[in-house]
């Protein structure tokens, strides 16, 4: 590897003017990138990762001010060379790959025209040469039928293909530096790996330096050699990736690593079960003293005990039999024929009282559709869904209607209502409690999810994503449901917040004896929280098993591939 420095950022500070105060978003950032190196920048949202990238590109928002520092690229200070010279560098020397390939492409132009545009701006060729060069670039990023894709529009490609086209666009003019800002965040795990591998290949083949920005340590670890960790606009740690993983120096990095679900880590799972097991601990001690058992045997005994104690009962709370779910596309014209599309094919599953059933699959596989059908939001179904009325189980009046927690808490909480109102509404609708009793319940619930009464007076937009998701959980649990459907409840959160929410969910499950159906595309999350998992692929349940059994001995080809890609993710 070349040791020459390509990019050098020295003491860069950037701020936004807010009234008379300066709101600093980047504080004395210094970093160096060598030729042919892949540097990772990791941090949670709001840590200043993207601001660093934008200031290199000279694309900071208009109201942002550079307070101090310099950015040297091949000896030139990018902050002083002026807009005209900067424009010449953009694309030809430095280019960028964005997170959301749907909004980064112009929807009205073909892929070919847009990739070609990059070349046109920096070179002079004939029309035919442009076209052949573009098609070649599309081929290089691994797009099949590049000739056809040249004429396609962005919406006709899948997310992964669009991201490849975007990389082709970034690479076509042969830049020395590519800044990839969360290039894989919007993609499924299997696609994620392919894109990361592509970036690595490009780096090796052309010697292009890459700055990879991500909130996901696993992504960083898979292809970066060095990384910096950012928090609140400051670099808190930097060094070789392996070293940071092995010996994190700062508290924050340790937190990030701790929050990162280690690949199917046994400690996470054991903790989960140990909590249940503690309750039966007296009996376990008795076993331990009377017999000398191997740890595996102890586990088995413990499990039987648990079943006896009905902590994990065998009672079915939800049974779905031969379920087919359809979506009908309504025609735009008045008399247009309805076309019906089958989303779920012949699904059969059973959820037992007290367990957590995971449903895993890629986006578009029908996970959410299945969930919506179970709670009754989707009416176009065939088959039987039985939700057992468990009113007699608890002493309190229970509601047989299952509740749901959605992925995007910004959309699932009414933006014009205060948190207090949002929590009270389900009580108004489903119980006969008086105003005073309702308020008492609301106050109790908000504390159960780790917030305080002062949050009741706020609007959803005044809370952070994690707090909003806590409110959404409180709103679902306040009517004492026995079954809760969690539809990707942590997918839009930062890792540390994810871990907190998962811990809260486990806690509440124990406290209220809840049954969860947990939908996620993230195998690590599934592994941490679920007892059983069902894998869904193109609308069909292809495998269902105990979580450990499934992860250790996957039966179906697709499950194997899913697990494999999750492994590669960690660089394992």
């Amino acid at each position: 590897m070349n040791n020459e420095s390509l990019l050098n950022i020295e003491n860069l500070s950037v701020g936004f003017a807010k009234g008379r105060k300066m709101n600093t978003v980047l504080n004395q950032i210094s970093l160096e990138l060598k030729k042919g190196e892949i540097l990772g920048i990791v941090g949670e949202s709001g840590s200043g990762k993207s601001m660093t990238a934008l200031s290199v590109m000279g694309l900071l928002p208009e109201n942002a001010k550079i307070l101090s520092g310099a950015i040297h690229f091949l000896g030139k200070n990018l902050l002083t060379i002026g807009e005209k010279n900067l424009r010449k560098l953009r694309g030809s020397e430095i280019s960028m790959v964005f997170q959301d390939s749907m909004t980064s492409f112009n929807p009205l132009l073909t892929i070919g025209a847009q990739v070609e545009e990059m070349l046109r701006l920096h070179t002079k060729y004939s029309k035919e040469e442009y076209k052949s060069l573009t098609i070649e670039a599309l081929k290089e990023v691994g797009l099949p039928n590049a000739d056809e894709i040249y004429y396609k529009y962005p919406h006709q490609l899948s997310g992964g293909m669009r991201q490849r086209a975007m990389i082709a666009m970034a690479m076509i003019a042969g830049p020395k530096l590519v800044i990839a800002d969360e290039p894989t965040t919007a993609l499924d795990v299997t696609t994620q790996n392919k894109i990361l591998k592509l970036l690595k290949d490009i780096n090796e083949k052309h010697g292009t330096s890459i700055i990879l920005i991500s909130h996901d340590l696993r992504v960083i670890k898979s292809i970066c050699s060095r990384t910096i960790v950012m928090k609140d606009g400051k670099i808190v740690e930097s060094g070789l990736v392996n070293e940071i993983f092995a010996h994190p120096k700062t508290e924050y990095t340790r937190q990030l690593l701790a929050a990162l679900p280690m690949l199917f880590s046994e400690t996470d799972r054991n903790q989960n079960e140990d909590e249940h097991i503690e309750e039966a601990s007296v009996d376990i001690k008795a076993i331990k003293t009377t017999k000398k058992l191997s740890s595996a045997e102890v586990k088995k005994e413990q499990k039987e005990l648990l079943i006896e104690k009905e902590i994990l009962t065998e009672k079915e709370i939800l049974a779905v039999k031969n379920l087919n779910v359809y979506y009908s596309d309504k025609g735009i014209a008045l008399l247009a024929k309805k076309s019906r599309k089958q989303v779920i094919k012949d699904a059969t599953l059973v959820v037992k009282q007290g367990e957590t059933l995971g449903i895993v699959g890629e986006s578009g596989s029908g996970k959410s559709t299945l969930a919506k059908a179970i709670v009754g939001l989707n009416k176009e179904i065939e088959g039987v869904i039985t939700i057992n009325d468990l009113a007699e189980i608890g002493n309190e009046r229970t509601v047989s209607r299952p509740q749901m927690v959605f992925q995007d808490s910004y959309s699932s909480l009414n933006p014009t209502k205060k948190i207090g109102w949002i929590l009270e509404e389900p009580l108004k609708l489903q119980t006969n409690l008086r105003k005073k009793e309702r308020l008492a319940k609301v106050n109790e619930m908000i504390e159960q999810v780790g917030l305080t009464a002062k949050h009741l007076e706020r609007y959803p937009y005044q809370l952070s994503g994690g707090q909003r998701q806590r409110v959404a959980i409180a709103a679902a649990l306040i009517v004492n449901p026995k079954l809760v459907i969690l539809d990707e409840p942590v997918s839009s959160l930062d890792v540390t917040i994810q871990a907190q929410i998962l811990a809260l969910l486990k806690d509440l499950q124990k406290k209220y004896n809840l049954t969860y159906v947990f939908i996620s595309h993230d195998l690590n999350v599934i592994y941490q929280i679920c007892n059983r998992v069902c894998v869904i692929y193109q609308g069909e349940i292809i495998e269902m098993n105990d979580v450990r059994e499934l992860f250790n001995r996957p039966q179906h080809e697709y499950t194997k591939e899913l697990l494999k890609s999750a492994m590669v993710d960690l660089g394992a």
Binding site: G19, M404, S411
Partner: protein, 266 residues
């Protein structure tokens, strides 16, 4: 441009103009310099002076007094029109947007029919059937205003009904009407309030237009449109007859436009 960092400059300016205009109307309830309908042959078409600040019209009536009273009539009519239009429009828009289907199709096509005729022409048809008069004008214009509100509310509802908080409300067991008017409707205020303000402007202009044609407010009652119509014959030798009501209409429309523009920029 922002004023004290919180409100848009246009918003503040619009608010000031609107308050001024409304102040004139409110004062008219308690005090007018002269009886607005009292004629005075001696003062026929006299130009603005210290005794008659905006001059007098061809019957010798004080124009300032008539503007104060006339603006009240015009505003009353405009508010009534907007209320009828917005109320019915919101209900139609909410129902069609929320339920969709053939019901939506049928009502929206009816909407299209209503909007495809010029509103003045429709009002003319209305008035020729029911006869001229203040209440008929209010009713006619109110109905004509329904489609614009229905459209705005409907399009918002179509977007909002897909949001998860609506699904959540369904899961909680909320009835459709509660979802529509308690859960969804407050979320439309961002577009509905500017639409109300612009609607008020249009209503003021529509009233002025119809009264100008002699179909609305009947003499001797004053309204801004009526006064403009009466001033028409004397435009060249006594332009002040038209200037005062014209200015009032302009200020009203300007003030409300600035407010709604400023709000949209928030």
């Amino acid at each position: 441009m922002r004023f004290k960092g919180k409100y848009h400059f246009n918003y503040i300016l619009g608010l000031m103009i609107t308050i001024l205009v409304f102040l004139i109307v409110v004062i008219g309830f308690f005090y007018t310099p002269y009886d607005p309908n009292q004629m005075n042959a001696a003062l026929k078409n006299s130009p603005p002076s210290l005794t008659n600040l905006f001059g007098t019209d061809n019957f010798g009536r004080d124009i300032l007094s008539r503007v104060m009273i006339g603006a009240r009539t015009t505003y009353f009519i405009a508010i009534a029109i907007v209320l009828i239009g917005a109320l019915l429009g919101t209900i139609v828009g909410a129902l069609t947007g929320y339920y969709g289907g053939w019901f939506d199709e049928a009502l929206m096509r009816l909407n299209d029919v209503l909007t495809s005729f010029p509103s003045i022409l429709l009002a003319l048809v209305f008035v020729s059937v029911f006869g001229p008069g203040t209440y008929n004008i209010v009713f006619a214009l109110g109905i004509i205003f329904v489609p614009s509100y229905a459209r705005v509310v409907r399009s918002e509802f179509i977007v909002l009904k897909e949001r998860d908080f609506v699904k959540n409300a369904k899961l909680m067991g909320a009835k459709s009407f509660r979802i529509m008017f308690i859960h969804i409707l407050p979320n439309t205020k961002k577009v509905l309030i500017p639409a109300l303000l612009i609607g008020f402007n249009n209503a003021v202009l529509a009233e002025a237009g119809l009264s100008y044609l002699g179909l609305g407010v009947q003499p001797p009652q004053a309204s801004l449109g009526r006064m403009l119509s009466e001033a028409q014959g004397y435009m060249l030798n006594s332009p002040w007859c038209a200037i005062a009501p014209g200015l009032m209409i302009t200020l009203t429309v300007l003030g409300f436009s600035l407010i709604s523009g400023g709000m949209a920029n928030e």
